[in-house]
Structures are given as C-alpha cells and as structure tokens.
C-alpha cells in the first residue's frame, strides 16, 4: 500500500522535474517563459495522437518533444526576434496552446493507449524497501539524468557559464562577444523540448488517455518549482517530489477521511513558492537570486 503511494508520488513528480528543468535553463539565460502550460499541452496532445495512430510509443514521445519545441519556437520568434514583452507573450502562448491542443485533441477524447513499460524486470520491484524505485519507466530515470546533465552543463562547462552570463547581464555578455540571442534561442528551444516531453508523459504514463486541459495547472506548478529551487537544478528533484507528494496526499487524504481540507494542501506549493520568493528577495545571497536580466528583452546596439 505504502509502496503504491510512493510510486504514484514519484510518477507525479516526473513531469514536474522535466518541465521545471527546461524552464530553469530558459530562466538562467534571462528569459521567462510563462507558456509552460501551453507547451506541455501541445506536447501531450501530439504524443497521444501519434502514439494512437502509429502504435509506437517512441514515435509518440518524439512527437511530444518536437511539438513542444515548435511551440517554444513561436515564443522565441516573438520574444527574441521581435523583443516583445515576455510576460504577455508567455501568457499568449498558454492561451494559444491550451486552445489549439483542445482543438487537435477533440477527435481523441475517450480513446486509450498502453503506457510505457517498466524498465526493469518485475522481480526487481519485489525487493523490500527499495523495490519501488525499480518500478518506474525509462522517462522517470531519464528525468533525473537530465537534471544531472543540466547541472554539469550549467556549472561545470564554458557554455553553461556563457548561458548564465547572458541571464545575469546581457550587455556585458554581448560586449564580450557572445551571441546573447543565439544562446537564448537554444535555451528556449530546449525548454520547449523538456516541456513537450513532460506533456507527453501525462497521456502516455500518468493517465493513459487524452482530455482537454489535462495538465491541470502542472505547468504553473513547474514554474513555481523553478523559483522554489532558487534556480538550482538539484533542488528541482526534491521540490518536485515534495510538490508531487502534496498533490497525492490530498487525494489519499480524501480517501482516508482526513480533516485537513484538500484545498489547503493543494495551495501549499503556491504558498511555499511565495515564501521562497520573499526569502530570497529579502536576504538571499547573490548565488540564489533570480538571474538579474530575467524578462529584460535584449536588443543589440548597432
């Protein structure tokens, strides 16, 4: 029973980890993409539609990643190409993506696919105590690996340094001869791919069917998670498991007749995020602050 609960928590946290890691890279490069929810939904609907029609999960996953990336490209075109306001463009992307995914997916409502297989042989999951960690699918393990790679990239490589520099001060970065817009383009597209993969995970694994707006606010939670993790990749994993646990607890609590209102638990991630924001803005060391050029459009002076 407790194993099943832990398994659900872990699985709930996978899309949060993926989407938040992507957004973290985007924000580190100085761009705030509030369109996470829209990109995730586009990824979800494409993954489901292609898995359903082709019968191949791999094709579906790829479709999710690609459509997340394409949706992010729309955002990139406006925000980076035309230097539009990032907040408003991100919201436009969420409104647009929610609508378009619903429109594309209207033919697929009520249909089902078989989800991703468990990576390890079933006997592994019978190991006491740690067995539950072997009962996951390949994307779950991949998500942790991606966080690790992103950490290495951001803090141990030259390109990571360049990316962080363009988020902290795009003018200095530009003066040093780095192509700020190219860096941001790469980050935005990567963020889109991650969001697309996160979206794909929902209809292929968490609930093996498509329904309109099925992310149900996970995009916003992932956005909160980036702040909660104070822009540090490793903390995304703890945060995601914590937020995932809160989500599952309220469902489990309802079933057991807990007296804590489920709405109170649901609001905890948001309240915690505000709390973290306040903490880091009042007395955080520079290391944990938001990238200082976040949301500032970059226009190269000629």
């Amino acid at each position: 029973m407790i194993d099943a609960l832990i398994l659900t928590i872990l699985m709930t946290s996978v899309p949060l980890i993926l989407a938040a890691t992507g957004e973290l890279v985007v924000e580190r490069s100085g761009v705030l993409n509030l369109g996470l929810e829209g990109m995730m939904l586009m990824g979800a609907v494409s993954a489901f539609a292609l898995t359903y029609t082709s019968g191949s999960l791999l094709v579906g996953l790829l479709a999710g990643v690609i459509s997340g990336c394409l949706t992010a490209a729309i955002f990139g075109f406006f925000v980076l190409g035309l230097a539009t306001n990032q907040v408003a463009t991100g919201l436009a992307l969420t409104i647009f993506g929610t609508g378009l995914s619903g429109l594309i997916g209207s033919d697929f409502v009520g249909k089902a696919v078989t989800g991703l297989p468990i990576l390890f042989p079933e006997s592994f999951s019978n190991i006491p105590f740690i067995g539950v960690f072997f009962a996951l699918d390949i994307i779950a393990y991949l998500s942790v690996l991606i966080v690790f790679i992103v950490w290495i990239f951001l803090f141990k490589t030259k390109y990571g340094l360049i990316l962080r520099a363009s988020g902290i001060s795009h003018t200095s970065s530009h003066s040093l001869g780095y192509k700020v817009l190219t860096v941001r383009w790469c980050a935005v597209l990567f963020g889109g791919m991650m969001a697309g993969l996160a979206g794909a995970y929902l209809p292929l694994m968490l609930t093996p069917h498509w329904s309109e707006g099925m992310t149900s606010g996970r995009g916003w939670i992932a956005l909160a998670l980036v702040v909660f993790a104070s822009w540090m990749p490793s903390r995304i994993i703890y945060g995601a498991v914590l937020f995932g646990a809160i989500t599952i607890m309220q469902l489990a609590g309802q079933a057991r007749g807990w007296t804590i209102p489920p709405q109170f638990l649901s609001s905890l991630p948001y309240i915690a995020t505000i709390f973290v924001l306040v903490l880091i803005s009042s007395r955080g060391s520079a290391k944990y602050l938001a990238p200082s050029d976040l949301t500032r459009p970059f226009i190269a002076s000629k």
Binding site: T84, T98, G99, E212, A224, Q263, Y270
Partner: protein, 364 residues
C-alpha cells in the same frame, strides 16, 4: 538576418492601425486553421464574428460578457502603463466575489437597499487586499510581482473552492458545491427599457463598467494623479525628481487594479449567477490582459476592445452550437490576437532592418 533599431518617434498612424491590422490578421489565421482542421472556414467565421452581431439580444449578450473585461481591463491598463505586472487579476476577482458574498450570505433575509453598495465596497476591498500582498512585497522587499500575483490566483481559487464545498455550502444544495442564493437586494437587476422591456441579460453592471472606463480615462489623461501613473512607467527617475513618492504610486496602482478586479467579481456573481460556486470567472482575469493590450493601454479604448474580445467568446459559443467546433478554439483566437498585438507593439517602438550581407555581419 534582421535586427531592431529603436525609433525616435512613434508614428501616430501606427497607434490606430496596429490593433486593426492585428484583428484582420487573426481572422486570416482563423480562416487557415479552420480549413486545415476540416471545418468550412467561411461558415465558421460567420458564426464567430457576424452571427453574434445579427440580433439586438445577441449584442446585449456581448455587453454582458464584456462587462467584467472592461472593469478588470481598465485596472490592468493602469498597471501596465506603470510597468507593474499584475497578472493575478483572476485571483483578485475571486477574492472580491468572496468578500461581497460573505456579506450577502450573512444577511440572507435583509430587505435593505444598502446591501448592494456595501457588497460593492467590500468587493473592492477584497480585491485590493489580495493585490496588497504583492504590492507590499514589491515595495518593501523588491519581490517580483509577476510570480506572486500568479501564485495568489491559485490560492484564491482554492480558497473559494473550499468555502463553497465546506463552510458556505448551502444545506439545500443537494450536495452540490453551491452557496445559498443571495437575497434579492444583493442582486444586480436587468435594465428595463420603457416600451421594449428587458433585452436579454443586459444589466446595470454594464453601465457601471462603461462609467468606470470613462472615469479612469479622464483621471489618466486629465489629472495630475494620472500623470503620475504614466510617469512611473515611462521614467521612474523623473517621477522622483518631480517630488512624487514612487512607493505610494505603486501601492495605489495595485489597490486600484485589484479593487476593480474584485468589483468585477462581485458584479459577475450578483448579475449573472446569484450565488457562489467553484467556478465564477472563466478566466476573465487573464483575458483582460489581452483587452488591456488591444486597447493600446488606453482606458477609454478598453470599452471597444472588451467588446471585441467578448465577440470572440460569444462567437465561440455560437460556432460550437451551429457547427460543433470545440469551444477551446476561442483560446486559439485570443492567443493569436495577443501575439499580433505584441508584435505590433514592437513595430511601433523599433524599425526592423534587414542585413543579408553575412560578411559584414561577422565584422560587427
């Protein structure tokens, strides 16, 4: 490669043509999307944009739908002009509705005509209270208001959900998450036209919304108060030099925009629903952001832009009924429209220059 060069002057013609061009381009995009998805595009566009304008009662519905958008949109115009990113109007709307609802539900049998004005005041205070949190955090601790307002929206929405499922649920709602009905004096009545009667659901809140927009326009353009609001966005330094207090200006903008969103929530419930339920808003707080941008950040133009967005919403309903096009398509239209408007914003500020000579590019 193309790049942007700042303009010294914004051509006046751009201010007027950009919203119009954006709307036309959105309709063209809609034509393509409907064709690709296999709907008859001409019929679909007819149901979207013409059918809601074909009868007087349908036009009245447009005004009813536009009412909350006008009120919230006006407040957001003030915010965005001042470069304050309050994107949590949805949450402030809900808080306003909750505060007003508390009063109405506390006096279920009252006959007093004072109930409605006091509900309006409480709604304004509720919305302002919810906006005060990000405002104070921004002023005192320089916390980013974008994320705080967004997070508080979800908190407000969950709070309302808890109220209507828990302590405020009516014992006679058969287990549905609904509160009791407000007393009659807590409801906003429909407008009675002598000789014609009522036109669809057209109510007095709509008149109030239009008055609010005009009042805000007057304040913004003709008073020192409005000058201050514009100054803080355009040049905070100039604001300080001219002796205004930046914090107080920021605070009042948050209070006004939050309060207006709260008022919109109260009007929406008192005019159309009559009780509280888990969903009272359908994203008006977010849609109003598009309204504010479409109005080119002018409170008087908010009236027209709110009506236009309402047209997309009502058109979505009519296309769904007539052609079984999913209602979500309104989101596609709204998203595309906002994209074009934002791109237009860039075109007013910058000139786009092309540079196809890649050799000279590398020598920059």
């Amino acid at each position: 490669m193309f790049y942007l060069v700042p303009r010294n002057e914004i051509p006046l013609s751009f201010r007027i043509t950009i919203p119009i061009i954006s709307v036309v381009l959105t309709i063209i995009c809609g034509f393509f999307i409907f064709s690709v998805l296999g709907y008859e595009p001409d019929k679909a566009l007819y149901h979207f944009f013409i059918s809601p304008l074909s009868r007087v009662d349908k036009i009245a519905d447009l005004f009813v739908k536009a009412c909350p958008l006008m009120i919230i949109g006006t407040g957001l115009v003030l915010c965005f002009r001042a470069n304050i990113w309050n994107i949590g109007a949805e949450g402030q709307l809900i808080m306003g509705a909750i505060f007003a609802g508390a009063l109405a539900l506390y006096f279920p049998n009252t006959q007093s005509i004072w109930l409605l004005p006091f509900m309006a005041i409480l709604a304004f205070l509720g919305g302002a209270f919810w906006a005060l949190i990000p405002a104070l955090l921004k002023i005192k601790l320089r916390t980013n208001e974008i994320l705080v307002t967004l997070m508080l929206t979800y908190v407000a929405s969950l709070f309302l959900d808890w109220l209507v499922r828990g302590p405020w649920r009516s014992p006679t709602s058969f287990g549905f998450p609904l509160t009791a009905y407000y007393p009659d004096v807590g409801l906003i009545s429909k407008i009675y036209f002598p000789g014609i009667g009522y036109i669809s659901q057209l109510h007095w809140g709509v008149i109030m919304a239009i008055l609010i927009c005009l009042f805000c326009w007057f304040t913004m353009e003709k008073t020192i108060f409005g000058f201050q609001f514009k100054l803080i966005g355009d040049s905070p330094k100039a604001l300080r030099f001219s002796g205004f207090n930046e914090s107080n200006t920021t605070l009042s903008i948050f209070i006004i925009s939050g309060g207006l969103a709260g008022l919109a929530g109260m009007i929406e419930v008192s005019a159309n629903i009559g009780q509280l339920q888990p969903n009272i808003s359908f994203g008006y707080g977010f849609t109003a952001i598009i309204v504010a941008f479409l109005a080119r950040l002018n409170p008087a133009a908010v009236i027209i832009s709110a009506l236009l967005i309402a047209l997309i919403e009502v058109g979505g309903d009519s296309a769904q009924i007539a052609l079984a096009i999913p209602k979500v398509v309104t989101g596609v239209f709204k998203g595309i429209l906002l994209f074009f408007l934002l791109a237009g914003e860039t075109l007013t500020k910058y000139e786009i220059k092309y540079n196809f000579n890649l050799q000279s590019k590398t020598n920059d």
